[in-house]
Subunit: 264 residues, 4 copies
């Protein structure tokens, strides 16, 4: 399916402020970027780099005053995400290198505190994909998806003591449990077609059976129309913008995703 | 300055043929991509990756029949390239890691055969930028720029025995001489505003004084309006397309570069 | 100076347990490995990889029963670490790519919560190296170094509310404050000659004036004899071992560092 | 099996000369380094880096006068290399990223000139491993292995017109033919236990069926006891030393490989 997805950010900047941005989705195995725009207003010098997780990042100093960033893509992606019941667990010494950084605990996924919970959740399940499914089932059953409820980012441990959560929280909990079982798991932030209310979305991927598979505790129906903007260990790594110094006002944020019939 | 640059490739494909493409310029320290399109016709699955030199590459299997690729960018770049007479040579043990692969001989830049020539060209010059200038002067004086004359890619050794050359040849000769003096040098292929006749262009960069500097033996007037599409050790690494198997017909290739007044 | 440094780890493993290890110091700009040993007992298959921060990591599954790891290096390092009062701050858009990942908040260095503190500490100081010095001074004045007091790893926010801390805690606080000022900062774990009591040590580096500089809030006397084993964003990234599944017993850990007169 | 392998290089250096060295074998999926030494005499500052192919490289400036390098490893490796008749060809769009750079022509493996030969050699063979076997058979049948005959490095095209060749030449020819069929192929330089006469050895690996497999046209009997020192696109990338400037005298080169019964 072809999507047109866009992100509009408008800031009010008191003093010149450094930004790291992650707003250029890459063409990958599951998506193909046919058109892309990245508009800064006013125009300032920006420099791009690739972070350790392969994301294209932009850095700039936003000048004082109103500052807006408008990015959009025309992108092809799948109608539904792949599933693979029975896909096996891969032991750490047999994993390729790329998923290895996603085995370690991270800021919001303290997987070293989840060994007992994770083991109890997957009791009786075949190691690998089916364990991930059991984890997602647990998250869906114990947490109510409450979009908009999560202003502050909390860690998987804190999520696990609540009854309501946002997509980011539920992904963190899933990631922490997977890693506690030595299954590499990574955060994805991106666009999701048809999300209500429309916003950026977060889900996770787990590495089993020789590749990454999508898991989404909040949209657990194989829903495709996904545009990955950034991959990382948790929300820290995939912030679409990070600013330094005194806080700036985000005056407006507008996310749009529409199905389109052709590429351009 | 803002440029709109585009590349149109039309092939006639006898049997399904694998391609590696390098047609997505990245935003870097000297250029900022504000809009980009990448159109495949017919649409086929393509997967992108970053090569060891940081270039975004695309791979796909072109189906039998007519196949076209149309890419374009709106991009900001400098009016003139930086120069730095006197910028010093950096000894190999003090170089950062990134330029190191560009010290070694490569397919078309057999720098191990250029030690004597390079040393004679730079006699009396301060080590570093001024040596690169002496090398470019030599190339300009001994070779006549003859666009269109170079169907077959030849190596720096072969270039050095000729009287006429294309931009690629002259870049290869410059790179080979720089590396023979332990100066990292890399090939750049890209767009150049105002080139006559319009075509893709090739030049080189040398690492002196702590950064990469542009050198262009064929357009030796600080001419800006440059869009780097790919960096590499020589022409092998920066082919905008590489095909496997039986040769395919390139029916049409059309390069355009225009100054535009605004970003989008 | 030449050092012989060694790490001996002895575990009691109830069930076969996956490990990630980081116990092979690399030769870098400040140290040269002349001899190295890495002994596993019993011998098991181990596979090495390079993590996103450039560290050499080993992974293996430790079999049930007693399991020991013994690593050692003969290494050359400096008598004192470099200092550079006045080395300037570098704006984010002018930084090279390598230090960029070390600008972001991380698990134990929540730099996004340290903007106010950091700004107050560096009031009146020139941006760059001198700000880092002010941060280290603050840490030395407010926290008492209490080796052995920190069984649980705590975050910079938690450290800042205590009166005693271990080297790791003090490094975390320094890193969080530097990043809050847009200065890249990274954790280093390694050997330190003459440390009392002898143990692994942790300090940090900040990127100012175009390179990484060493800062050590607990050994703040330019003390050299440092062997970096691993670099990372915080303690999470530089754990010399990470195990998965049920906890294993670390029966014995023995760190030794001795000055030696010759390389081998 | 456990091996003790060593390389001794002794130079006579007329003027201080920069070197790039590749003499530190890494622990990988097929070998585990238990002990390693790297001795420079006289001692000079050396800095290590990882090249784009994952090799550990050392750089230094050798001072005028006698200069020697002595490296050794105690390493575990397999008794025989794996074979996999029938392992399938993987289409370019389905390959992982790591083998992709090894699809392109390179200095000594001009695979773009080998399409016809390669296709004729593999007529009737199943795509993948069996094609590689056919290529190795052709090399063994048409070229006589003549160790010591190859002072100058020649390219696969030149090799293919000769009747005698060294291990490096035969590997180049194999690589060129594999790449001409869109099979990633890479050069390996290393130690081989039992080689007569003892010297450094070169062979190649091809990526089929989801992993790299060893092929050795000169020791085509599944002979194990292999220690990979460096991987690359061809001989250019895997030179154990590259020197810049005027040639230096290699006074002595001594390679030893012995089976040992224990690790250390």
């Amino acid at each position: 399916m072809w999507l047109h997805a866009s992100c509009f950010l408008e800031f009010n900047i008191p003093v010149a402020t450094p930004f790291l941005l992650m707003l250029r989705p890459r063409s990958g195995r599951q998506q193909w970027v046919a058109r892309e725009q990245y508009e800064l207003s006013p125009t300032v010098m920006a420099v791009e780099f690739t972070d350790p997780f392969g994301n294209l990042c932009q850095r700039l100093v936003a000048p004082a005053g109103p500052f807006s960033i408008h990015t959009s893509v025309n992108i092809e992606c799948a109608e539904a995400f792949d599933i693979a019941p029975g896909a096996p667990f891969i032991e750490v010494q047999n994993l390729p290198e790329e998923p290895l950084p996603f085995l370690l605990p991270s800021r919001f996924c303290e997987s070293d505190r989840f060994t007992q919970l994770a083991q109890s959740l997957v009791a009786g399940r075949a190691p690998g994909y089916d364990q991930c499914t059991a984890i997602v089932d647990y998250i869906c059953q114990t947490l109510q998806y409450a979009p908009g409820s999560g202003l502050q980012i909390i860690s998987a441990s804190e999520v696990n003591e609540k009854s309501q959560a946002v997509c980011r929280d539920m992904a963190h909990l899933g990631i922490a449990c997977c890693r506690a079982l030595s299954i590499p798991a990574r955060m994805v932030v991106g666009y999701l077609e048809g999300l209500v209310p429309m916003d950026l979305h977060a889900w996770f991927e787990a590495y089993v059976g020789g590749r990454w598979y999508t898991f989404d505790p909040t949209q657990n129906d194989r829903h495709g129309g996904r545009v990955a903007i950034a991959y990382g260990r948790d929300a820290t790594d995939v912030a679409i913008y990070t600013q330094f110094g005194d806080p700036v006002d985000l005056v407006r944020m507008d996310i749009r995703v529409e199905r389109v019939s052709v590429a351009l």
